[in-house]
C-alpha cells in the first residue's frame, strides 16, 4: 500500500494526520458549508451585513417553504420527466449496442465502436445549430421529448463504450456453451448476458441520471419556459427573480442539487465503479 499506512508512523504523525483530515475537508467544502448556512438565515442578516456570522434566527422552514411555493417544484418535476426516460432509453439502446460490439467479431466492429467513442468526445457546440434545427422541424422545440431524444442519442456514445468493455470482460465460454446448446442469439442476450450485466446497468443508471440532471447547455438550447425547462435552467431564472435574496437562492440551489447527491450516497459503490471503469487494468 502506498503511501505507508499511517498506523506505522510515529504517534505525533498520527495525531497530525487526524487533525489534518477534518481541517482539509472543511476548507475543501467551505463554499458548500456557506451555502448551507445561508439557506437557513433570515433576510435581515443580509441587509444588516451579517453574512458570515452566526444566524440571528433560524429561518430554514420559511426559506425552504418559499422555494417550494415558487416555480421550483415544477422545474424539479420537469427534471425528473427528462432524466428518467433518458436513463431508460440509454440503457436499452446501449445494452444492445454493447452486446453486439462486445460479443461478435466482424470487420466493422472496431470502427463502429470508435464512431461511438469519438462522437461521445465531440464538443457538443458543433451539434448545437443542427440539433436545434432538427428539433424545431420535428415540432419538439421547447418540449420534454425533444430534450429526451437528444440526450438518449448523445449518451448512447458513452454508454456503448461502457457496456462493450463490461461485456468484453465476461467469460466468453458462457456464450459458447449456450450456442452449443442451440440457444438463439436473442435468448443468449436476454437470458445469459442481461443477468450478468446488472451491476453495469446500475452503474450506468446512476451516472446518466447525474449527467442529465446536471445538464445546463442543452436545457438552454432546446427549451425556454417553465413548462419544459429542467431545474438547472430554472435556477437561473430563480436567480434573476431573487438576485439579492441569497437565503432563497441558497435554499433553491440545495433543493436543485439534492436528487443527484442522494443518488450518489445511496448508490455510491455503483457510481464510483461506473466512473472509474478502466482506471485499473
Amino acid at each position: 500500500m502506498f503511501p505507508t499506512p499511517i498506523e506505522k508512523s510515529s504517534p505525533a504523525a498520527q495525531l497530525g494526520y487526524k487533525i489534518l483530515l477534518p481541517a482539509s475537508l472543511i476548507v475543501w467544502l467551505l463554499p458548500l458549508i456557506a451555502v448551507a448556512v445561508f439557506s437557513i438565515k433570515p433576510d435581515s442578516d443580509f441587509t444588516s451585513g451579517n453574512y458570515w456570522g452566526f444566524p440571528s434566527s433560524f429561518e430554514g422552514l420559511t426559506n425552504y417553504g418559499l422555494v417550494f411555493g415558487s416555480d421550483m417544484p415544477r422545474y424539479m418535476l420537469n427534471s425528473v420527466l427528462i432524466t428518467v426516460p433518458t436513463v431508460i432509453g440509454c440503457i436499452i439502446l446501449s445494452s444492445m449496442t454493447g452486446f453486439a460490439l462486445g460479443v461478435y467479431k466482424f470487420k466493422a466492429n472496431i470502427w463502429v465502436f470508435f464512431m461511438f467513442v469519438a462522437g461521445n468526445f465531440v464538443p457538443f457546440q458543433i451539434l448545437m445549430v443542427p440539433v436545434r434545427d432538427l428539433t424545431l422541424d420535428l415540432g419538439l422545440y421547447n418540449t420534454i421529448p425533444g430534450l429526451v431524444l437528444f440526450h438518449i442519442a448523445f449518451q448512447t456514445g458513452f454508454c456503448t463504450l461502457f457496456m462493450r468493455n463490461f461485456i468484453r470482460a465476461l467469460p466468453f465460454e458462457l456464450i459458447e456453451a449456450a450456442r452449443v446448446e442451440g440457444i438463439s442469439e436473442v435468448r443468449i442476450f436476454w437470458y445469459v448476458i442481461m443477468p450478468l450485466m446488472k451491476p453495469a446497468l446500475a452503474a450506468l443508471a446512476v451516472l446518466i441520471f447525474t449527467f442529465i440532471w446536471n445538464d445546463y447547455f442543452w436545457a438552454v438550447v432546446l427549451t425556454q419556459g417553465v413548462e419544459s425547462q429542467p431545474v438547472t435552467a430554472g435556477i437561473t431564472s430563480f436567480n434573476a427573480q431573487f438576485r439579492a435574496a441569497y437565503h432563497l437562492m441558497s435554499a433553491g440551489s440545495i433543493v436543485a442539487a439534492l436528487p443527484p447527491v442522494a443518488m450518489f450516497f445511496l448508490m455510491q459503490k455503483h457510481f464510483i465503479a461506473g466512473l472509474t471503469l478502466g482506471a485499473v487494468k
Binding site: A34, V122, I126, P130, L149, Y216, F217, V261
Partner: protein, 307 residues
C-alpha cells in the same frame, strides 16, 4: 442444417438466416443505437460544416457565402480572445490531475471514517456546475465574498475577481477545478487500490522512499488512471460553458469568453441569430478537439490490438 435445406422456400430462408445469424444478429442489435447516434450526432457534425459556409439567421432563406465566415473570424478580436482563453483553460485545467493525485494520496489510508471522508471530498463533482458557479460567484463577491475577507486578513485586496479583465478567466477556471479535481481524485483512489504491494515492497528494499517511490514505482502503475484523467479533463476544459454563462455571461467586456460560449452568443442570443458564423466557430473548436480525439483513439486502438 442440411436436412431442412430443400424442403420449402420458407425453410430455405430460415436456413439462410441460421447460417448467417452470426453476421446478421450484431447488426440487428446495433441498428437502433446507430440510427439514433447518426441522426443526432454524426450527421449534425457534417451539417455544421455545411452551415458554416452560409449566411443564415435560422429562419429566413440561407445564402451561400463560401469561406466568408472564416474570413470574418480571421479579423475578429473576440474570436482571438476566446481562442486564447480556451488554451488557458486547457493548460490550467490539467492542474486537476496532480491536485487529484495529491488528495488521493492523502486519503489512501485505513483510519476510522475514511470512507466518509472520501465521499465528502468527491462531493463537488456530483453537484451541477450551475450551483458551483453560483457558489463561487458569492465566494468572489467584492462586497461580502469570503475571498476578500481572507485577503483582508493578510492585508491584501479587495479585488473584484469576476469584474476584472485580468483575473476573470482564472477565477472561473478555479471554480471549474474544484469538481474536476474531485473527479481525478476518485480515479486515482481506485488506481491506488490496485497498486501491486509486492512492487512497493521491492522498491522499499531497494531504498526507494516517498517521492522517489511515488515517481518510479507508483505513478507508472497508475498509467490507466492517468490516461482517463487526461481524457476527461481535456474534454471538460474544451466544453466549458456552464460556469462562464452563470458566473459572468462572458464579461467583463467579453474577456471571459471561450469558443463554446462565443458561438452560443453569436448564434442564439441578443447578438443576433447568425447561425453560419456560429457554426464556423464550432468548426474551429471541433478541429482543436479532433487533435485530441485522434490521439485518444490511437492509444485505445493500440491497446485493442495488444489484446
Amino acid at each position: 442444417m442440411a436436412d431442412t435445406a430443400f424442403t420449402s422456400s420458407s425453410a430455405n430462408q430460415q436456413s439462410w438466416m441460421k447460417r448467417n445469424k452470426l453476421i446478421i444478429t450484431p447488426w440487428m442489435f446495433l441498428l437502433p443505437g446507430i440510427l439514433f447516434f447518426a441522426v443526432y450526432v454524426i450527421i449534425p457534425i457534417f451539417q455544421s460544416f455545411y452551415y458554416s459556409t452560409l449566411d443564415w439567421d435560422g429562419l429566413g432563406a440561407a445564402e451561400y457565402v463560401g469561406m466568408a465566415n472564416y474570413a470574418e473570424l480571421w479579423d475578429d478580436d473576440a474570436f482571438y480572445v476566446s481562442l486564447r482563453n480556451n488554451f488557458i483553460w486547457l493548460f490550467l485545467y490539467l492542474l486537476a490531475i496532480p491536485g487529484g493525485l495529491t488528495i488521493a494520496l492523502l486519503l489512501n489510508q485505513k483510519v476510522f471514517g475514511i470512507r466518509l471522508y472520501k465521499s465528502l471530498f468527491f462531493f463537488p463533482f456530483v453537484i451541477s456546475q450551475v450551483v458551483v458557479g453560483l457558489v463561487f460567484t458569492w465566494f468572489y463577491d467584492p462586497t461580502f465574498g469570503l475571498l476578500n475577507i481572507i485577503l483582508g486578513w493578510v492585508g491584501l485586496g479587495p479585488i473584484n475577481v469576476l469584474g476584472d479583465e485580468a483575473y476573470v478567466t482564472y477565477g472561473i477556471i478555479a471554480a471549474g477545478l474544484w469538481p474536476q479535481t474531485a473527479y481525478c481524485m476518485i480515479l486515482y483512489l481506485t488506481g491506488l487500490n490496485a497498486v501491486d504491494p509486492e512492487q512497493i515492497e521491492a522498491g522499499r528494499l531497494d531504498g526507494a522512499k516517498r517521492l522517489k517511490m511515488l515517481w518510479y514505482v507508483v505513478i507508472p502503475q497508475l498509467k490507466p488512471a492517468t490516461f482517463i484523467a487526461f481524457v476527461v479533463t481535456i474534454i471538460g476544459a474544451l466544453r466549458s460553458f456552464d460556469l462562464i454563462s452563470i458566473m459572468t455571461n462572458g464579461g467583463p467586456f467579453g474577456e471571459s469568453r471561450v469558443l463554446s460560449f462565443y458561438m452560443f452568443e453569436v448564434a442564439l442570443s441578443e447578438y443576433g441569430f447568425r447561425m453560419g458564423y456560429g457554426a464556423a466557430i464550432a468548426v474551429v473548436l471541433f478541429l482543436i478537439m479532433l487533435v485530441f480525439i485522434a490521439s485518444f483513439l490511437r492509444s485505445m486502438y493500440k491497446e485493442e490490438k495488444g489484446r
